[in-house]
Amino acid sequence: MMNRSLKQFGEMLQTKKISSVELTQTFLARIAQHNPSINAYIALDEAKSLAQAKAADALIAAGKASPLTGIPIAQKDIFCAKDWPTTCGSKMLANFVAPYDAHVITQFDAVGAVNLGKTNMDEFAMGSSNETSYFGGVKNPWDVERVPGGSSGGSAAAVAARLCAAATGTDTGGSIRQPASLCGFSGLKPTYGVVSRYGMIAFASSLDQAGPMAKSAEDCALMMNVMAGFDERDSTSLNREKEDYTRDLAKPLQGLRVGLPKEFFAEGLDASVGKVIDEAIAAYKKLGAEIVEISLPNTGLSIPVYYVLAPAEASSNLSRYDGVRYGHRTAEYTDLMDMYCKSRAEGFGAEVKRRILIGTYVLSAGYYDAYYLKAQQIRRLIAQDFVEAFKHCDVIMGPAAPSTAFKAGEKVDDPVAMYLQDIYTISTNLAGLPGMSVPAGFSNGLPVGLQIIGNYFDEARMLNVAHQYQQVTDWHLKMPQGIE
C-alpha cells in the first residue's frame, strides 16, 4: 500500500476506496511508529492535517478533485506555513510560528493536498548530511547508522521510509538531488525561477529553488504541476505559460542524445557508484539513446565559486535574525550590541556561523573584487560550459553524489570533505539549470542515484527520460528493510 504512486493514491481516493482522512491517519500512524528512530519530522499537527483531509474528502465528494487532492505531503521546514512552527532547522527560529503561507504551501492548499507535517533539515539548508539541524540528525532508512544527505534530509527520509506520499525540498547546491541519491528516490530541482521562492526561507537567493521529492518521475511530474507557476511576489519568478509536466512521460527515447561529462567520471568518484552509473547508461543505450562524450571544463571550480557566492548571499539573508522582532533573543544583555552578539551566537549553529563569516569576509571592502566579483565571472563561465555542452546533447547524465550514504559523524569535522558531496550538483545551481536524481541501483546495499541534467525549462523532457528508465527498471520501487 505504502509503495503506491501518487496516481494510484489519487485513484483510490477518487473511487472512494479510501478517504483522505483514512490515508492521512495511516501515514500519521506510520510516522508515530517510525519517526522516533528516523527523526524525519520536526513538527506534526494531527488536528490540522486531519482538518485538511476532511476538507479534501468534501472536495472529492463534490467532484472537484484534482490529482493531488487529499494526498498527504510532507513539507520541508523551510516553507512558511500559516500557524505552523517554521524553524528552518535552527534554534534561531525554534519558537517561530509563521503568520503567512509560502507560495508553495498555498499551491498545495489550493488543490486540497494535506500538509502532513514539517520535515527536518540542515540548519538554514546549510549542510549535506542533515547533521547541522538544531533538532538532531536524521537517520537514513536504508541504514540508520548513516546520514540521509542534506539539506532536505527529513523530506528524503520521509519519502524513503514511506512516511508520506511525497515531499517538498529545496536545492541550493544539491539539497534535493544528493539526499535523493543517498535515500533512493526521485528528486527534481527545477530551472531557477520556475517555482516561486516567496515564503521559502532564503539561504542563497540566486541559487535556491524548491522542487519535488517523490518515489518516481511520474510523481515528481504531478508535484511539479502544483508547485510551478508564476508568482508576482517573487521578482525572479518567471512569467511563463502553465505547463503539464506529465505531457511527455510516455515518449520513446529513440535518438535521445545523452551527454556524459568526462569531469563527472574522474577522480573522486567512488568506483562502485561509477559502476552503477555505467549500468544505468547501458540501460539507456538499450532504450535507444545515443551516448556523447562532453566536457564541462570548469566543473572543478564550481565548489570554490559556490562557497564564495552562497555564503555571501547567506551572510546578508541571515542578518534579519537579530533578536529584535522575532526569533531567539538572549535572556540577558547589557546593550544593543551585546544583544545582537549573544542572540546570534546562541541562535546559530557552527556551520551557519562559518558561512556567515565566510560571506562577510568575501564581501568586505578590499576583498570584494578578488572573491565575490571573480566568483560571479567564473559562474558565467560555468553556465557557458553547459550552453556549449547542450549543443551536442539533449540531456546530461552522471552520478548525483560521489559516494553512497556515509556514516553519521564521519565528515562533520571536515567541512571541505562535506562540501565535496555536492561536486556534481552545484554547477547546475550556478547555471540555473534543472537537474534530477533517480534511483539507479545499489552499492553494498545502499542506493545510488543517477543524475539527469536538462537544458533550461526542459523539465518535461528530463521527466520523460527518467520515467522511461523507470518503466524498464524497478530501483525506484525498492524499499528499505524494517519499515513495512
Binding site: G199, A202, D234, T236, S315, R320, D322, R325, L363, A365
Partner: protein, 481 residues
C-alpha cells in the same frame, strides 16, 4: 589668508507614492506605530521585495527635470548594517549603477548686502532609489526603546550634487531650488517637518586658488533651511579656525544642534561601517526604456526653466521677474491664473511679486491660504487699466479684499474710489485751482518746474483724490502753455 568653503549636498526626498517601494503597505504619515508594517516591512523569514514602478516613474521625472542621463539598466544593491530600525539587516539601495546619472540645476542666489543676486549651475552627480528605515521610539515603554516600522520601506530618491557650492547661501539656494523642483514635478510633498526632504551637507575648506579638495565633514539630517545656513556657517568657521590653529580636519559625520548652533562629531571615518554592498539577488536589474521615458515625459508639467523662457517671450517680463515668478509652482500658477482672468501681464507680475508676496510674507501665509484669489486680483487690475481707479485707490481696494471683502466694484463704490475722468469736470477744477493760486502760476511761468507739481497736487486735493492724475497733468499743461 583667504579661505574658500566647498559644499556638496546629498538630499533624501521621500517619493509621493501610495505604497512602499518594495511592498504594498501604505506610506501615509502619522499612523499608529506598526500598523503600516506588512510581512515585507517587518522582514519576516521568506519574504521578498517587489519593485513599485511608481517610484521608478518619480525617479525618471526627476532625471528629465534636471536633464540627466537616465540609465537604461540600473541595479539594486544591499547595504548591510545592523540597526534595530533596519529590519532586514540591510537597506536596499543603488550603488554602482544608479537610475539617474549626471544632470544639472540652475539656482538663483539672492543678493546679500552689497553683493548682487546671481545665477549659478549646480551639477548633479547622480540620484538613486532606495528604501527608508523605520524609526526608534524612546519613552513609549519605561526603560525600553520601541521600533516603529511604518516608515520602513518608504521610497526615497537620494540626490547627490558635485561639490559645486562655495557658500552657505549657495547651498541654501540649491536646497530651496531642489525643494521647489521636486514639488513642482509632483514627486515629493516637500514636508520637511515630517522628514520628506532631508539634507546631508558635505563641507570642506581650502585656501583660495587651490584646486585640491580639503577633508570633508558631513553634516547629517538637516531638516530646515535656517538650520542648514547656521550649520554650514558654524562648520566653516570651525574648520578654518582648526586649520589656522595648526590642527587638521578628520573625515567625520557630524550632527547640528539647533539649540547651541554648533556641530558635533558623531563618528569618525575609522568608526564607519563597511557596508559590504553587493547586487540584491532578489531583484532583477531595473530597466528603463525610451518608451518608459516618453510615457513619463507626457505626464510632466511644464518645467520652471521652460516656463521662465515663455514668460519672457510671451509677456515681455524681465529675466529676473520671470525667474522670481517661476521659483515656485504655486506662484507661477497664481500669476498665470491672474493673467488668464484678464489682467495685463506686467502689472499682474508686479502685483503678485509686490503686494501679494509682501502680505503673505508679513502674515507667514502660503499662496494656498491667500485671501485674495487670482480672479479678484485680475478684477482689481482691470479697474486700474480702464482708469476706474488710481493705483493709490487700488491699494485700498486690495487691503479690503485681503480683509475678506469679495467684490472689487462693490468696494470701489462703497469707498467712493472711482476716479474722475470727465475732462470737463477736471477742467473746471483746474480753473478753480489756477484762479486760487496765482503765485504758483507765476512761479511756474518764471521757470520753476516744482510749481507745476504743486498745482497738480492742489488739483488732486480739490478732487478729493478722485481725478485721473494723467488727465490732470495733461489739461494743466495745456492751460499753462
Amino acid at each position: 589668508m583667504e579661505w574658500e568653503v566647498v559644499i556638496g549636498l546629498e538630499t533624501h526626498t521621500q517619493l509621493k507614492t501610495n505604497t512602499k517601494i518594495f511592498s504594498g503597505a501604505s506610506t501615509a504619515f502619522g499612523a499608529e506605530p506598526n500598523t503600516q508594517a506588512c510581512e515585507v516591512s517587518i522582514a519576516l523569514p521568506g519574504v521578498l521585495p517587489v519593485l513599485n514602478r511608481e517610484a521608478v516613474n518619480c525617479a525618471i521625472k526627476f532625471g528629465l527635470a534636471v536633464n540627466a542621463e537616465i540609465a537604461p539598466r540600473s541595479v539594486f544593491a544591499r547595504k548591510n548594517y545592523f540597526y534595530p530600525d533596519l529590519p532586514k539587516g540591510y537597506q536596499i539601495s543603488q550603488y554602482e549603477l544608479p537610475v539617474v546619472g549626471k544632470g544639472a540645476v540652475t539656482i538663483q542666489v539672492p543678493a546679500v548686502g552689497k553683493n548682487p543676486a546671481y545665477e549659478k549651475v549646480v551639477n548633479i552627480t547622480r540620484a538613486h532609489l532606495e528604501e527608508d528605515a523605520g524609526k526608534s521610539v524612546h519613552g513609549a515603554v519605561e526603560g525600553m526603546s520601541g521600533i516603529d516600522l511604518n516608515r520602513a520601506g518608504t521610497p526615497l530618491l537620494e540626490i547627490v550634487t558635485e561639490p559645486d557650492m562655495r557658500s552657505a547661501a549657495e547651498a541654501v539656494a540649491y536646497a530651496k531650488k531642489l525643494h521647489e523642483l521636486v514639488q513642482w514635478i509632483g514627486i515629493c510633498d516637500g514636508n520637511m517637518q515630517e522628514g520628506s526632504f532631508r539634507c546631508d551637507v558635505n563641507v570642506s575648506v581650502r585656501k583660495k586658488g587651490s584646486d585640491k579638495l580639503g577633508t570633508r565633514r558631513e553634516i547629517k539630517n538637516l531638516n530646515s533651511f535656517k538650520f542648514m545656513q547656521q550649520a554650514i556657517e558654524y562648520e566653516t568657521r570651525w574648520q578654518i579656525e582648526t586649520l589656522e590653529d595648526g590642527g587638521t580636519i578628520q573625515q567625520a559625520t557630524v550632527l547640528f544642534n539647533p539649540d547651541t548652533g554648533e556641530t558635533r562629531s558623531m563618528r569618525s571615518k575609522e568608526e564607519a561601517n563597511d557596508y559590504r554592498y553587493f547586487p540584491d539577488p532578489d531583484l532583477l536589474p531595473l530597466e528603463v526604456t525610451e518608451a518608459d521615458k516618453a510615457r513619463v515625459k507626457a505626464q510632466m508639467p511644464e518645467l520652471p526653466e521652460a516656463m521662465k523662457a515663455r514668460f519672457e517671450a510671451d509677456f515681455g517680463l524681465t529675466s529676473y521677474d520671470a525667474a522670481t515668478l517661476t521659483a515656485s509652482r504655486e506662484l507661477a500658477d497664481y500669476f498665470v491664473q491672474t493673467v488668464s482672468a484678464g489682467a495685463e501681464a506686467k502689472p499682474a507680475a508686479n502685483w503678485v511679486m509686490g503686494a501679494v508676496s509682501a502680505k503673505l510674507n508679513a502674515e507667514e501665509k502660503s499662496l494656498a491660504d491667500s485671501p485674495v484669489n487670482p480672479n479678484q486680483l485680475a478684477s482689481l487690475l482691470k479697474r486700474i487699466a480702464d482708469n476706474t481707479i488710481s493705483n493709490n485707490a487700488a491699494k485700498q481696494v486690495f487691503e479690503a479684499l485681503w480683509n475678506g471683502e469679495k467684490d472689487v466694484d462693490a468696494i470701489i463704490a462703497a469707498k467712493g474710489l472711482k476716479q474722475e475722468s470727465d475732462s470737463g469736470a477736471i477742467e473746471a477744477i483746474i480753473d478753480e485751482v489756477l484762479k486760487a493760486n496765482p503765485a504758483m502760476v507765476e512761479e511756474f511761468k518764471a521757470g520753476k518746474e516744482k510749481a507745476f507739481n504743486a498745482l497738480v497736487g492742489q488739483a488732486m486735493k480739490a478732487s478729493k483724490g478722485k481725478a485721473n492724475p494723467a488727465q490732470v497733468n495733461e489739461i494743466l499743461k495745456k492751460k499753462l502753455s
